[in-house]
Symmetry: C2
């Protein structure tokens, strides 16, 4: 779920549900692993297990792409890898710029998963003049002043924001003005963008807070309700006592993207 848009989900998608799109990368990863082991075909059951979803959902998801399986047999791994890659637009090269080369930005620049799937880090941009020219992950950092030129020269349409929250909106505005239409935001702030621009956010503290909510609930399952606050005092109250009991939080549940800020 891309956030940041004002209204209109504009989900003008050509039939493929958002929830399905969000799972395609998962299937692709599982298929890639199978491909590397030279496995020729998989059943929906096997692939679903590898991707961590249930088989009915997987089959339904694939049905939106077309009929790529063979009844009684399963799916051809290589063929499916290609189809999903194509559907996701990974058969082409996507130049990406990362703005904000702090700890996080550097980590992203070094992240192998970027380059491995059609994404190419075209440039690293930072507002600190002292960073200019300094190579990070083998790529020289450029100054924010040249942002517009960098975007245009490289035909960049995807930007990653890893700046402090205070600078995020401004950077976002400049990226958009320069032609970027998809943004991955790591800054813990809500970005406002014009229609037609996609924003996805990843906020670490939000993910942790969601975990804390469930964690708290596990701990207070038998005992009491609200009250107090208490501080510190972390007795050895083994969270995993005999209590345990249900805890319905079975899987990671749908998918709320995720995490971390700058």
């Amino acid at each position: 779920m891309a956030t940041g848009r004002t209204h209109r989900p504009a989900t003008r998608s050509r039939g493929i549900p958002e929830a399905t799109v969000a799972r395609l990368p998962l299937y692709l990863r599982a298929l890639t692993a199978l491909s590397e082991r030279s496995v020729p075909t998989v059943s929906s059951e096997e692939l679903a297990a590898a991707a961590g979803v249930n088989s009915a959902k997987l089959r339904k998801d694939f049905s939106y792409l077309g009929s790529y399986g063979t009844r009684g047999v399963g799916y051809d791994v290589e063929y499916l890898v290609y189809q999903i890659s194509r559907e996701l637009g990974l058969t082409q090269d996507w130049p990406v710029v990362i703005v904000g080369i702090g700890n996080l930005g550097a980590a992203l620049a070094n992240y192998g998963g970027f380059a491995s799937r059609g994404f190419r880090v075209a440039a690293l941009i930072d507002a600190d003049p002292a960073m200019a020219g300094k190579p990070v992950a083998g790529i020289p950092v450029q100054h924010t002043d040249d942002l517009e030129k960098i975007i245009k020269d490289n035909g960049v349409s995807i930007g990653v924001i890893a700046t402090p929250a205070g600078a995020a909106q401004q950077v976002c505005d400049r990226l958009v003005a320069a032609g970027v239409t998809s943004i991955l935001n790591f800054a813990p702030t809500v970005l406002t963008v014009p229609d037609g621009v996609d924003v996805r956010k990843v906020d670490l503290s939000i993910e942790l807070q969601i975990l804390a909510f469930h964690e708290q609930r596990k701990a207070g399952e038998e005992a009491p309700m609200e009250t107090a606050v208490g501080e510190g005092a972390l007795p050895a109250s083994a969270p995993r006592g005999a209590a345990a009991d249900d805890s319905a939080d079975q899987g990671p549940d749908g998918d709320v993207p995720a995490v971390m800020p700058a």
Copy 2:
């Protein structure tokens, strides 16, 4: 009876929907900003705008927590900050361990938002002996061998995995065995955990792939390919050979690059 636990008990007392829980941190962030500006009250409309959601949704979300607003007036900022914090379990201190101190792990350790919301980095753990003792973000890295002891000594129930994919499941198993019941996973792999353990995942390459999908669609919006929307328009029995559409630029499959981070 006291049993019959199916899946989702939730029927028990306060059944706050997952979707709502996922938004509470967002509201909390917006409220905190208002609080810092000493704004006394907000209307659902204003707060919703600040959080990037619509007001009806916000009111519905708050209704699950209780009636904390005043009709005709709005919500008291301070009071709401407290109520949401309490609901999320942030009025207590959560010690967290980060396993895998590479670029990403270091970025997480340095992330300020951690401490600011009830989370405390209790320890940094890495498998590389060369890292041991080296301070990152002011905290000395400890070796994986001591993982169990660290977890127990600090009463840690939340763990963050920032290791390479290959090590993730093993680390996860050890964390869980040592008592961790909530995991935030940055490794691009599906983790298997026992019931009662919560896992949330964050996958950077997946987020980018989702953006690529939408980006691609925007680009192809002008060239009307086969925009056969409709519903049952998919009966195509013939799996259309590998030929399929030709729209694809170049058909480079280049084989499958590994989806894995460093």
